[in-house]
């Protein structure tokens, strides 16, 4: 078996603010195998995007990796120099940012924008890059002549395909996709998910998919980590986690999810809101919203431990 594509080991990323450090990611470990689709799920503000930005080393100025390692093919990205990062970004790890399709430059043709990415990172001739851009367009299901279109001439789904083409432009090994279908209609979303799945298989890509929508992860990923308030609470095979969740938080998330294929029912929800990460609660970070909280949960932080085939951080399973 090949060594994992990416290993994240006890990562802590904090944001410095005037009132103190916001512990956005607080001790997260997981690994992504080569050719695997790994999902990272959780509510807004749970730290999913911060993990992605830590990997790409694109944190805002007040963000700091305070602890841990991010090993990509043996290289620790937390210690990589700017020059080393420039060789990795886009060429080996590329990222589809949330809402990227709306960040296409409106005054340049989409082809030129793909060419720009190729020339900047691979240093090839413009003519060759243009040819490659045409091929990429075909690969994402657009016709080659679309490279001469401006972003406003394309629909949302087509723009998202251009963004995917751009992410593939330098043959990366790992793609990080942050909410790649959030603003899209359901049919377009299904088409984009299918496309990502096909490309991943064809190019043997590793994929890290970040979304709040468990159903998308369920369609596309092999394994999933559920995050809550900067920590992973459950990690395992998608089938196990989505069909038989064990952590009370995951159970709440799954129950809150309306399925179009089940009878009308009363939807449940998780009461309260996520904690303030300036002063996270003691013990288990979820205990304030957990219906099964015990005394121990208030005092002692649970560690991820194996239950059946899933890893869970919950005292219920001690």
């Amino acid at each position: 078996m090949l060594p994992p594509s990416l290993i994240i080991d006890n990562l802590k990323t904090y944001y410095e603010t005037r009132s103190g450090a916001v512990r956005a990611v607080d001790g997260v470990s997981f690994q992504i195998e080569v050719g695997e689709a790994f999902g990272l799920a959780g509510e807004s503000g749970c730290g999913k995007t911060t993990i992605a930005l830590s990997i790409m080393r694109l944190l805002p100025r007040n963000g700091r990796i305070v602890n841990g390692k991010i090993l990509f093919k043996g290289l620790d990205l937390t210690e990589a120099t700017l020059r080393e990062m420039n060789k990795i970004r886009w060429k080996r790890i590329s990222m589809i940012f949330q809402g990227a399709m709306n960040a296409l430059n409106p005054v340049h043709k989409v082809g030129d924008q793909i060419v720009e990415a190729i020339v900047a990172h691979d240093g090839v001739e413009k003519r060759e890059a243009l040819e490659r851009a045409g091929k990429l367009m075909e690969m994402v299901g657009l016709s080659t002549d679309m490279i001469n279109k401006y972003p406003h001439e394309l629909s949302g789904g087509m723009k998202q395909r251009v963004i995917i083409a751009m992410a593939l432009s330098c043959n990366p090994e790992l793609i990080i996709a942050d909410e790649p279908t959030t603003a899209l209609d359901v049919i377009v979303q299904a088409q984009i998910l299918k496309l990502i799945g096909e490309l991943k298989a064809k190019l043997n890509l590793s994929l890290m998919l970040i979304t709040h929508d468990l159903s998308i992860i369920s369609e596309l990923c092999n394994r999933v980590a559920i995050m809550y308030a900067g920590k992973i609470v459950e990690i395992g095979d998608v089938k196990n986690v989505c069909r038989g969740p064990l952590h009370p938080y995951t159970q709440g998330l799954v129950a809150a999810f309306p399925s179009v294929r089940e009878e009308k029912r009363k939807l449940s929800y998780i009461p309260g809101s996520p904690p303030d990460l300036l002063n996270p609660p003691s013990g288990c970070r979820f205990h304030l919203r957990c219906s099964k909280a015990m005394d121990k949960c208030r005092m002692e932080e649970p560690k991820l431990a194996k239950v059946n085939n899933t890893f869970i951080a919950c005292h219920l399973y001690d």
Binding site: I187, Q189, S215, E219, A256, V260, K266
Partner: protein, 330 residues
């Protein structure tokens, strides 16, 4: 005649937006083109019902909602609110009526003025409609509305600004703002699509509880079929300005008749099993400027027949309250 328990009746509603062209183009072309956002829509909403209007972006669902409240003037058609033809009302009459018909917007981050306190936000509609005589009465009504949307304890929210609240709390303020006027009918335009899945159900539960408590009827506009199935009583599926299928939510979900409804249902990802299917042609939605002849869905339909290219299907009864506009079923 409209029966007493029908709160909203819409008949052949059309809204065509004229396309403005540059000076030169309009000098040389005589034909005025239109975006046919809503192109002949009819339905009724019964008192106490949650009526779901479902479709992709650009299908005209929001335009229908806004035309019913006469925020947008329709091109033709009729809208009745409890038997009153609201398109015949004068500006001042509609303003009085609008107290009984309210709108909740999608984005609580944009729909609340960031420089107003929660007290002022919720109290403003009361002052505008002159429903309170003094400050005490206003405070009392605002507190009651905040209690109804379960912002507890309400007193602590009065002097806060929207930026101090979470997304879910903001949307509750938006609901309280509509609720404080004691409306009978609310148009809710994607009220939870900006919120996290984990708190959506909480907001929806509040909306349904208020429905029971005050007998409010809702027009629930959404693109989310799964949500519609669990929230709505009736549902209409819109495509390019027309209703393709309409009926009781369980009838439509269990037994979808229109190929478009089927395609929508197939495309919804599911949490428990991977079942995604693409049962539609192409990935470019048709433009509402050049609506295809015959059935407007035929260029994307997998079951197109000759008839579909020529003749527009009418919305016809399948059984009970289930209607579909498709030649396959006529």
């Amino acid at each position: 005649m409209i029966s007493d328990n029908v709160i909203i009746k819409v008949e052949d509603l059309k809204k065509w937006f004229p396309i403005r062209k540059g000076v030169f183009v309009s000098l040389f072309s005589k034909k005025q083109e239109f975006i046919r956002a809503v192109d002949g829509v009819s339905f009724e909403i019964v008192k106490g019902e949650v009526f779901g209007l479902v479709g992709e972006s650009g299908c005209g669902k929001t335009t229908v909602g806004k035309t019913i409240l006469r925020i947008i003037e329709p091109t033709s058609g009729k809208v009745y609110f409890k038997g009153i033809d609201i398109l015949k009302l004068s500006r001042s009459e509609i303003r009085k009526l609008r107290r009984r018909m309210q709108l909740i917007y999608q984005d609580p981050f944009e729909s609340l003025n960031p420089r107003m306190t929660i007290y002022n936000l919720v109290g403003e509609p009361l002052s505008i409609n002159k429903l309170v005589n003094n400050v005490d009465e206003k405070v009392e009504k605002v507190i009651k509305a905040l209690e109804d949307v379960e912002l507890k304890p309400p007193e602590t929210f009065l002097d806060k600004y929207p930026h101090e609240l979470s997304g879910g709390q903001r949307q509750r303020v938006a609901i309280a703002r509509a609720l404080v006027l004691q409306p009978e009918f609310i148009v809710a335009d994607e009220p939870v699509s900006m919120l996290d899945v984990s708190i959506r159900a909480e907001i929806l539960e509040i909306m349904l509880k208020l429905k029971e408590h005050y007998g409010i009827s809702y027009l629930f506009i959404t693109h989310d079929l799964a949500l519609a199935r669990h929230i709505c009583d009736k549902i209409a599926i819109m495509y390019l300005g027309r209703i393709m299928e309409i009926g009781d939510v369980e009838d439509v979900m269990r037994n979808p008749m229109h190929p478009y409804t089927k395609a929508l249902l197939d495309a919804v990802p599911d949490i428990t099993e991977s079942k995604l299917k693409i049962s539609i042609k192409g990935f470019v939605p048709q433009s509402p400027i050049n609506i295809p002849p015959g059935c407007r869905f035929h260029p994307r339909c997998l079951e197109t027949m000759d008839l579909c290219r020529k003749e527009e299907p009418q919305l016809l009864k399948v059984n009970g309250k289930h209607y579909v506009a498709c030649h396959l079923h006529n």
